[in-house]
């Protein structure tokens, strides 16, 4: 559990900034993820993960990346990353999205909402550009249901784009769908 402040939070599910002490958690989440074959090869040891995080903190300081732990009901249940932030293009990618087995699907749904809320509302970016391994059909279907548009024909990866305007237009419907429409705009307190 962590009492660290969330960057964004909705209905008891929040994104909090990754800290160096999360190395063990991240290794466990990634290696325990049932669909880890769809993830890029990552650290398998706590030490390797710590080294990766040290480099990440440098990228974060330059405004290029944000790595979050997904928390639900005071438990750390996942991780997700916004990366390759391009201030000139006002675009970003997101991924490294892992959620602990047994976590309610609501957490997956809300964590995606929170990623977009943070990127579009807090960072003031305009376009999400991201890729999913072509075999990861379930995640591809999820993103399409979330309003992301396929760019070109998938080969090894499916490339997606989601514009802020499209997301804003759909967000209230998403929240109504999960009974959170009354919560409105996210809290936005960047670290």
């Amino acid at each position: 559990m962590s009492s660290l402040k969330f960057n964004v939070e909705l209905g008891g599910i929040g994104l909090r900034p990754v800290m160096i002490g999360d190395s063990h958690l991240i290794v466990r989440l990634r290696n325990g993820y049932a669909s880890r074959r769809f993830l890029n090869t990552g650290a398998t040891s706590n030490r390797d993960q710590e080294q990766w995080l040290q480099a990440y903190f440098e990228r974060k300081a330059r405004g290029l990346e944000h790595y979050f732990i997904i928390a639900h009901a005071d438990r750390d249940v996942g991780a997700v990353r916004i990366y390759e932030i391009d201030a000139a293009q006002a675009s970003f990618k997101w991924g490294s999205w892992v959620i602990e087995s047994g976590t309610p699907p609501l957490v997956a749904f809300v964590s995606a909402v929170l990623v977009y809320d943070f990127a579009f509302d807090v960072l003031r970016l305009e376009t999400a550009l991201f890729e999913v391994v072509a075999e990861n059909a379930n995640v591809i279907r999820f993103h399409q249901g979330f309003g992301a548009a396929l760019r070109g024909e998938p080969d090894t990866h499916a490339s997606f784009e989601l514009k802020k305007a499209t997301y804003i237009g759909l967000r209230s419907r998403f929240l109504a769908r999960i009974g959170l429409a009354h919560l409105g705009a996210p809290s936005d307190a960047p670290s």
Binding site: A34, P105, L106, V139, G145, G179
Partner: protein, 78 residues
């Protein structure tokens, strides 16, 4: 969306052959029945088949039959 198409798409989500996806099929027996699999199923039901179900519905389903109980009456044709 008709029932055949729904079964075909749902089978792809849980990673089994259509012939295996009987009403008795236990969803948790599929490694793909994780948060993303459940979200994909909800997308199939809600967005593709245009059937409105409570968001937590999919989490209460133990078998494919449980899914069909709510969805089948609203599928159009076989």
């Amino acid at each position: 969306m008709n029932k055949s198409a729904f079964i075909r798409e749902f089978a792809a989500i849980v990673g089994v052959a259509e012939s295996e996806l009987t009403p008795a099929f236990v969803l948790s027996n599929s490694a793909a029945w994780d948060s993303m699999g459940k979200m994909a199923a909800l997308t199939l039901i809600d967005t593709d088949a245009k059937i409105e179900v409570p968001f937590n519905f999919i989490n209460t389903c133990k078998t494919f039959g449980d899914v069909l109980t709510l969805v089948e009456p609203q599928l159009v044709g076989e």
